[in-house]
Amino acid sequence: MFGYYFKLGVRSLRRNPVLTTLMVLTLAIGVAASVSTLTILHMMSGDPIPQKSTRLFAPVLDNRPAENYDPGHERPDDQLTYIDVVNLLKSGQGVRRTGMYGIAAVIEPPDKQIEPFWTEGMAPTRDFFAMFDVPFVYGGPWSEADDARGADVVVLSREMAEKLFGDANPIGRQVRLLDAPFTVIGVIGAWSPQPRYYQLQSGRKFGVNEDLFIPLASAIRHKSSHNGGMSCSARSDPGFEGILRSECTWLQFWFETASSADRADLQAWLDNYAADQRRLGRMKRNAPNELYDVPEWLVHMKVVGKDNKLSAWLAFGFLALCLVNTIGLLLAKFSVRASEVGIRRALGASRTDIFRQFLTESAVIGLAGGVLGLLLAFGALALLSLQSSAMAAVARMDLAMLAFTFALSVLAALVAGLLPTWRACQVTPALQLKSQ
């Protein structure tokens, strides 16, 4: 029977073309608005590394002076000092750990035809690549020995490798970077987690592609300045060495544990570490030391912007309006068919039959609205993508959102169809037949 009702529903689309078009359009616009804003929220709040997001931890320590401490009301800086990063790297805690900072450096291509240009990347330690599941096309990460002596080696992104060396395997070739020759030891494949959870402190959260990676120790040795913010709570000695010894925070750190259950141990170790530092005259605030796993970190760093939430809320208000509108239009459409209902009821159809038939017809309208809404949503997302590379990275529909679009549209149409269908069921066959 459902198949028959479905066929009737499709045929009924053509019966009242103006009203039907209006309904389908209204639903489609409402669905498109909600789906496109929701897609952005969905992509923004996705888990960038689901297989281990609860085993990766970012530590936050409060190293500021005790004088003006206002417990409970202050948020410590989200970055770490060089002193702490060096100590945490030596800690041996977790199965892997990496300390890093963002760099911006001029590359001088070996091919003199190409002008030198600015690149952006990271200066992490070796474990970075394994911790964050970075795939390699050629070569691999540098060794622990490279980390220890600050070797001048570089891992390039695939785009950068192609720009510098064409299609050839560039392993072993040299580029000039930070005014020194660096040897290419690896080329990574497509890797651009959204959001860029491993380094959110610079404020660039989406659509960032790293051009290159060099060992942390190498960047420090070349005194490469940091590409991001720095927060200093006390005066530092002059020069780069002064900053390394200072209480200025400008680096990032991650631990990876064998299981998420190891968190308590890591927290205990971190508390111990802070207590040790306090004995040495640092961390005088005795503020809580925090650990965030990836999902907590995304919330802490406010990855989903207020504007995105605002757009989604308004879009759903808009969908509600479209829903009310569709109820009215369906009422109009069904009310002129009272006689048809009367005849069917007189011929033996039960109220349940009528209910099924009209609700199926509503669902057909919802399906049509879903198809059109999906097209409109794709258009809206394409328009939004023009805004910035960050927006382009999140304004992308995945399979889950695709399915959701149809579900939302059909559900909206069914909800809108409830009242008009119920009304249609109330038709009294005798009255209807008499008035004819």
Binding site: E67, V324, N325, L329, S388
Partner: protein, 409 residues
């Protein structure tokens, strides 16, 4: 016109009118809030940065690939500024540490007393080696610009105390409300380490490097100090009116020619900085404008649809009224009045819903409170929309022939 019969007929068949009123209410609530946000974002994007005639100003960042030590860097900077000054069409040049609206720069805590344990304000710090009062056309509200003797060159990272400081009027008002500011001592940092610097001037306005919203965005200080040794510098150039594009080309060529080693130049106009700073705000504004237009179209469509339905349902009654002597305009007036009644109910609900929605936005997303003007304006728009939408069906109703009443259905 009798309202009673209209009301009683509305009360007899509530569903349709309730649906229309609900649409009007939802439209008004969303419309008022959306337009409020558009207004806010537009206002934020239109705030002056402090730079006079922004279209004429651009900046060039120059990076030297071969660092030959701090002294060479200082010599480079001196040569570069002379090179830029010699470019025809250049009105003024200044060597600056950061730019308004660039999202990149330095903040420092400032205080009025050395003994303070909490800062008086956080200020964006513009380190300059030449007069930005001239290059950016800043307006002096009090005191004077830096004198030539006050500009100092310091190696990167050293912490010599600057000889003078200028601040924005907003910061001056925050630090020393209702007092003369020139002659006071401003402390950068706090405690033993704090640097006390005499204030020599107050500028009307200079936004911070992030162009933050609110008071924070107006808190800036200017210090006459040039750091050298970083292997590069940033220059801000004011070109003669209408000559910016040519001056940019000539300035880049001149800098490349004058440099002994390979350099990378990065040029941005203030217009570009402004566009980049407010790109997200402008995009959100346009999205909301589009949504508002669609909203009104859909609501109008809903009203037309429902009004047409009612006219169709009452064809016979209209015929009877016409046969009993009602004129065409009486019929039109009936439907318009009916619509105004429904829209008014919707507007009433919409005002409440709009305030509620705004309350939610204020609580959850820290938005600003909605001025009632937006609700009033939105109400007028929806009333007009309602009447315009009902006019077509009402006119068709008026065209129904009285003879219809005599026929049996």
């Amino acid at each position: 016109m009798e309202i009673r019969p209209i009301l009683s007929s509305l009360m007899r068949n509530k569903t349709g009118p309730i649906l229309v009123a609900l649409q009007v209410a939802l439209s008004l609530a969303i419309l008022a809030n959306a337009l409020h946000i558009v207004g806010e974002r537009r206002a934020a994007a239109a705030r002056p940065s402090g730079i006079a005639d922004e279209h004429a100003v651009f900046t060039i960042n120059i990076s030297h690939l071969r660092g030959d030590g701090p002294e060479q860097d200082l010599a480079n900077q001196n040569r570069e500024i002379a090179t830029l000054r010699a470019v025809p069409g250049v009105v003024s040049v200044a060597n600056v540490g950061q730019l308004p609206m660039s999202n990149s720069g330095w903040n420092t805590t400032v205080a009025v007393e050395r003994s303070q344990t909490r800062e008086s304000a956080v200020a964006s710090t513009y380190s300059v080696a030449d007069s930005v009062v001239q290059a950016w056309g800043l307006v002096l509200a009090e005191g004077r610009d830096f004198s030539a003797a006050e500009y100092v060159d310091i190696p990167m990272g050293s912490r010599d105390t600057p000889r003078a400081v200028m601040l924005t009027r907003a910061l001056a008002a925050r630090l020393w409300p209702n007092q003369a500011t020139v002659g006071k001592t401003l402390y950068i940092g706090m405690g033993e380490d704090a640097m006390g610097i005499p204030v020599v001037g107050v500028v009307e306005r200079l936004q911070d490097h992030n162009a933050n919203i609110g008071e924070r965005g107006e808190m800036s200080i200017i210090v006459p100090r040039r750091e050298y040794g970083a292997g590069g510098a940033t220059y801000t150039v004011r070109a003669a009116p209408g000559q910016r594009e040519r001056v940019i080309r000539d300035a880049e060529d001149a800098l490349r020619k004058a440099s002994g080693d390979p350099v990378i130049l990065h040029t941005r106009t203030i217009d570009e900085l402004r566009a980049a700073r407010y790109r997200a705000d402008v995009a959100l504004s346009w999205t909301l404008v589009v949504v508002s237009v669609l909203l009104l179209l859909i609501t109008a469509g809903g009203i037309v649809g429902m009004a047409s339905l009612w006219v169709n349902q009452r064809r016979k009654q209209i015929g009877v009224r016409r046969a009993l002597g009602a004129r065409k305009r009486d019929i039109v007036r009936y439907f318009i009045t009916e619509n105004v009644l429904i829209t008014s109910a919707g507007v009433f609900g919409g005002v409440l819903l709009g305030i509620g929605l705004n309350q939610l936005l204020v609580n959850r997303l820290e938005m600003e409170r909605l001025p009632l003007g937006y609700l009033a304006g939105g109400a007028v728009v929806l009333w007009a929309l309602g009447i315009a939408a009902a006019y077509g069906p009402a006119w068709r109703a008026a065209g129904i022939s009285p003879a219809l009443a005599t026929r049996s259905a």
